[in-house]
Amino acid sequence: MIWLIDLIVLIFVIFSAIAAISVKDLLSTAILFGAYSFLMCLLWAVMGAVDVAFTEASVGAGVSTVFFVAAVFNTTRRTKD
C-alpha cells in the first residue's frame, strides 16, 4: 500500500519540477520551488527518512526559498525563456 502513496507523491514531484522550470515569472518559480521542496520532504517522510525530511523541510524548503526570493528581489523578476 505504501508504494501507491509513494508513486503519487513522486509524480507530483516531477510535475512541480517541470512547472518550476518552465514558468516565466521568477517569483512564481520561487513559490513552485518551495512547493517542490515540500513535496520532496513529504516523499522522504513516506519512505521512512524522517530526519532527512525534517532537514529538507527546514533547510531545503524554508531557507532556500527565502534566499531565492531575496535574490530575485535584488535582481529582475523578468525572464525571457
Partner: protein
C-alpha cells in the same frame, strides 16, 4: 502481465528518480536565465538525494529510531534488536550532509548571480555574452 507488474513494482522508484535528475540536468544546461539554471541545479542535487534514500528503504520496516530504548534497557534484560524491522540509517546520514551542501552551494551561487546582475543589469545568458563580447 503479472511479472511485468512485479518488475515495475520493484524498479519504478529508480526510473522516476532518473527522470527527475534529467529534468534538472536539462534545465541547468539549456535554460537561458541564470536563476532558472540554479533551480535546475537544486533539482539535480535533490534527485540524487532521492536515489540514496530509496536505497535505504526496507519494506514493512519502521523509522530508524529504537522506541522502547529506555523502558527495555534495564527491565527485560538486553534489548534484542532485529535489523530487518528498522530502515537502513546510513543513507539518511549521507543525505543530511548532501542537503546542507546543496543549500550552501545554492547560497554562494545566489551571491554570484547578484554580483553579475550588479555589473551587467541582466541575468540572461545571451545578453551577458553580448555584453562581454562588446568589451
Amino acid at each position: 502481465m503479472t511479472d511485468f507488474f512485479i518488475v515495475v513494482m520493484a524498479k519504478y522508484n529508480y526510473w522516476l528518480y532518473i527522470i527527475l535528475m534529467m529534468i534538472g540536468l536539462y534545465a541547468m544546461i539549456a535554460k537561458n536565465n541564470l536563476m532558472k539554471k540554479l533551480v535546475g541545479m537544486n533539482i539535480f542535487q535533490t534527485a540524487i538525494i532521492l536515489f540514496y534514500i530509496s536505497i535505504g528503504y526496507k519494506i514493512d520496516a519502521t523509522i530508524p529510531i529504537i522506541e522502547n530504548a529506555h523502558g527495555g534497557g534495564h527491565g527485560a534484560g538486553p534489548l534484542v534488536i532485529h535489523a530487518a524491522d528498522y530502515i537502513n540509517p546510513l543513507p539518511h546520514v549521507l543525505m543530511l550532509t548532501a542537503i546542507v551542501v546543496s543549500v550552501a552551494t545554492f547560497g554562494v551561487a545566489m551571491a554570484l548571480a547578484i554580483k553579475v546582475y550588479q555589473r551587467y543589469q541582466t541575468l540572461e545568458e545571451d545578453e551577458l555574452r553580448m555584453h562581454i563580447r562588446e568589451k
